[in-house]
């Protein structure tokens, strides 16, 4: 098996299982109330972390580059209550524009 196919197989199996942990492993079992309350606020924690890593992470380096312009445009449009598609489009345009100028 080539390295490509071996990687595809191993990552595929691992990811499929990780995605099944909640829906299949935990299913409708009632979790302790305290844990339930914590899980309710996991979305803002993970999404905030994704904003930071997608903006500043490059491997294990913290870098400031054209992506910050895309995020800046995104923040302004979100504050202006723009629809998702406009946020995504302007995020790409702002990033591409700054990258082209560099």
């Amino acid at each position: 098996m080539s390295t490509g196919w071996a990687t595809v197989a191993a990552v595929g199996v691992g990811t499929v299982l990780l995605k099944a942990v909640g829906p299949v492993g935990v299913a409708e079992r009632r979790l302790p109330a305290a844990l339930d309350a914590l899980l309710g606020s996991i979305a803002p924690a993970i999404l905030a972390a994704l904003v930071v890593t997608e903006t500043f992470a490059s491997g294990r380096h913290f870098v400031v580059d054209a992506r910050l312009a895309g995020v800046g445009a995104g923040v302004l449009l979100v504050l202006a209550r723009a629809p998702f598609w406009l946020v995504v489009l302007c995020g790409a345009l702002a990033t591409a524009a700054v990258r082209a100028l560099q």
């Binding site: 490509g4 990687t7 990780l18 995605k19 803002p44 905030a48 994704l50 904003v51 995020v71």
Partner: protein, 207 residues
Amino acid sequence: MRRGIRLALPLLPAAAALGASFGVLARAAHVDALAAVVMSATTFAGSSQVAAVSVLGAGGGVAAAVAAALLLNARYAPIGISVSRSFRGSVARRFAQAQLVVDESWALSRGDLPVLLGVGATLWVAWVGGTAVGALAGQAIGDTSAFGLDGAFAALFVALLATQLGSRRHVRVAVLGAAIAAVLIPLTPPGVPIVAATAAVLLGRRP
């Protein structure tokens, strides 16, 4: 489900374009076109796929590529647990439906299963289709980083985060989560900062 498809439509061009850039990247790393498409269809988690083929492209081994990808996808354990009660039916059905959980479908659905499945299925089609185009057309597409897709996804996560900031507690959790991720980026392998940021739900708790 139809609402989910409608919610996902605006994200389709970006998902397809990112899929295409993954396809190009995979071919550049000497991964078969078919293997790239199979990966998009089964793994269906963009950042981890890009990470895996980047490691291979840089001359890394299978173990390093797999570790990088699975660390990035470790967040799907807590994400899946947070929506586990929305899923119904047999184990096989849950198992299949769980594969449509991606960051976007999870965040847009807010626990509504038909919306999650609609968003997930729509993005899956765009992602797999985009990968096929990128893997086959390859070089003809050119340097996809010029399109600013990475910035587009960062902006999308800002928009998704904004929908979650309804309470002061959630704002505190988000600020802490962002801070944890920022501090850990240079200290840990990619993926770990995102999983570690879930600790913010503990720290952000205050009576």
